[in-house]
Amino acid sequence: MSNYFKAPLTRRQCLSLLAKAGSSSAVLGAAGIFGLTNTPVNASPVTLKPLQGKNRKVLILGAGISGLTAAYELERAGYHCTILEASHRIGGRVLTLRRGDFIDELGSPQICPFDDAPNLYFNAGAARIPAHHTGILHYCRTLGVELQLFSNHNKNCYTQDDAAFNGQPVRIREYEADMRGFIGELLAKSATSGAVLDQPFDEQDLDKFIQFAQAYGDLDSSLTYRGTDRAGYAAGGVTTAGILKQPRPLPELLRSDFCAGAMHFAEIADQAPALMTPSGGMDSIVKAFLRQLTTPVQLHCQVSNIQLQPQGVAITYLKQGESYTEQADYCLNCIPAQLVSGIENNLPADYVTIMRQLGRGKLTKIGLQAKQRFWEQEDIYSGISWTKQDITQIWYPHHDAFKAKGILLGAYSWEPQISDRFAAMTHQQRLATAIAQGTKVHANYAQHIENGVSVCWQRMNHMLGCGAVWPEELQKTGFQLLQAPAGNHYLMGDQLSMHPGWQEGAVRSAWHALADIERREALRSTGAQA
């Protein structure tokens, strides 16, 4: 092997190191909490048959994406909808924060302090849409939501890990180039030594394979990695010859956990480029639904009782301290299951038992207003830097380059323990922590940051969690039960999808419930028992 390996390594050691580099599934599993790694197949949008004069009333509990989707489709088919929302706002976990917005976190209420400017917004909840999320994209297309490109992966961003490189941030470009060089060289030299693959593998295949390894790692003609311009030049490269950067020693690269997790984040089907996001903030989707709805969403309506009845559902709710009851043919319930379990009801006992066992997703996002777009001085436009500290990520805005100011994502953690630590802090302590930790990635971070918002989703009023956490066993035994209607009551939302935390899960859960209502209405019109 080449002198690139500063420390002597045996083949066995190399392979075990390679195994470490490849053993990312556990880490990716955690990183993928915002969506499982399987890709949902395309679905046809639900089309409800018009009621044609029949009178059907539907109560929709919760004005997030699943509730809005259902209301839009039902209204178009002539159903009479009532939409009750417990909080002060519409959109659920589609939360785009701008100046003056109230953040209703239990015990830590805030008013968003950003300057009042169109480019200064923060998607504190849903933030990105993969191209295969055809359900939510169907509504973006048909309701006229303008989209921009969004990327999780930007090679000019940094990876920072106290365990490697003396804690200094390293460009993802350099880290990945060196890691691939090492893997490419290991592959190429293993292949030429002959003792590689079990399956039939002729000379031509072997030649192709070595070419692949060479291209993968950018190896020289002797199949040795000696650095690459993929990492960027140390100097020159435009009007003078470029000078390659010295590769980092492999053991040093492996001291960082980046290779065993975050480096592969954008390989996840739901996270891979190219992603999209609405121009001006994710709540453009909410606004697009509201433009279509004729029924107003009633805010501050906190459901206090759910009663299944022989022919429908009765819902009691509190509004400004007064109690009201409404009856309907159907109830589409988008309230987080962990809150439904505390609402008086006559739902089947096994149904409620499952809801009590669902975990509360613990996620924290912090948005920071920067008075200069200092990241542009470091050749960063969009993307994510990674650090092993609690803040985990820094996102740079994908929009409005060269404007005076910008909103960074200063922390995003989906690890429950980390989110607990942020939740235990005051808002000011959270900002101070985000700035202190961000300073390890950008040395003069503190002097650029003016103010910020922090959102701990497990503490947000009327939600108390982000994305239901289904224990694996419970999902096997309980998911279908909860997905099925109880009488004329349907539980909905991303919590009843294999994509918790994604708008796609919310849309598809609504379509699932609407398809069942359609089936029952068809049976009713033929006089059969629904």
């Binding site: 239990l106 015990g107 459901v303 301290g321 962990q338 809150l339 505390g342 066992q357 503490r459």
Partner: protein, 210 residues
């Protein structure tokens, strides 16, 4: 006569307004639609707890007697809320809780617990908490009967491991911590809770007038 009637009307509507503050609805987000508790949030039944105890616990959260332990995520949730409330808001919240109609709680039986053993263990509890788990205002001991069994287990564990009753100025908490520490293991906690669970729920009692 008319004047007296008018004053009475005004007073009662003021009380009504106090207990109907939309803010007090916050309580019901975690504690359930009738303050009956919610297992998914690990929020206790408030309807069985008398005013003095609710007040005492707001003070306990504010004083860091509850919610200060690093891993006590649920305690910290309530502590964050308590810290944002002033005295008047606490009284409004208590008044609001008092107005909630009692709700029948689901029965969850712990089949692995030994109720008889629990009854023996409970003998040391009843001096303060009463033979029927009805509580004792003079001794600052809350009612236990009618509380969710998972919450009682959680709190006994919290006293035992020092999340509660571990502060010098929390004298009642310290007393409770000693008793909790005398329960040797999880089984003992399960047993004594199973016995408390078997006691008929007493109505909210000892509503001390302030």
């Amino acid at each position: 006569m008319n004047k007296i009637w008018l004053v009475f009307m005004l007073l009662s509507s003021a009380v009504l307004a106090d207990s109907k503050q939309p803010d007090a609805q916050y309580c019901l987000v975690c504690h359930g639609s009738a303050a009956q508790g919610n297992a998914a949030i690990k929020a206790p039944n408030l309807t069985i707890l008398p005013d003095w105890y609710l007040r005492q616990q707001f003070i306990a959260f504010r004083n860091n007697w509850r919610g200060s332990a690093t891993n006590d995520a649920h305690g910290k949730e309530m502590q964050a809320v308590a810290n944002t409330m002033n005295d008047a808001e606490i009284e409004q919240a208590i008044a609001f809780i008092r107005r909630q109609a009692p709700v029948k709680l689901p029965i969850s039986v712990n089949t692995t617990a030994n109720v008889q053993h629990g009854q023996q263990l409970y003998q040391q509890c009843q001096a303060c908490h009463g033979a029927q788990g009805e509580g004792n205002a003079q001794l600052h001991a809350p009612p236990l009967a009618g509380q969710h069994n998972w919450y009682l287990v959680q709190q006994l564990s919290a006293f035992k491991n020092g999340w509660r009753g571990n502060q010098n100025d929390d004298s009642y908490g310290q007393i409770m911590r000693q008793f909790a520490q005398s329960l040797p293991d999880e089984q003992a906690i399960a047993d004594v809770v199973a016995y408390i669970d078997s006691l008929p729920s007493t109505q909210p009692l000892l509503r001390t007038s302030r």
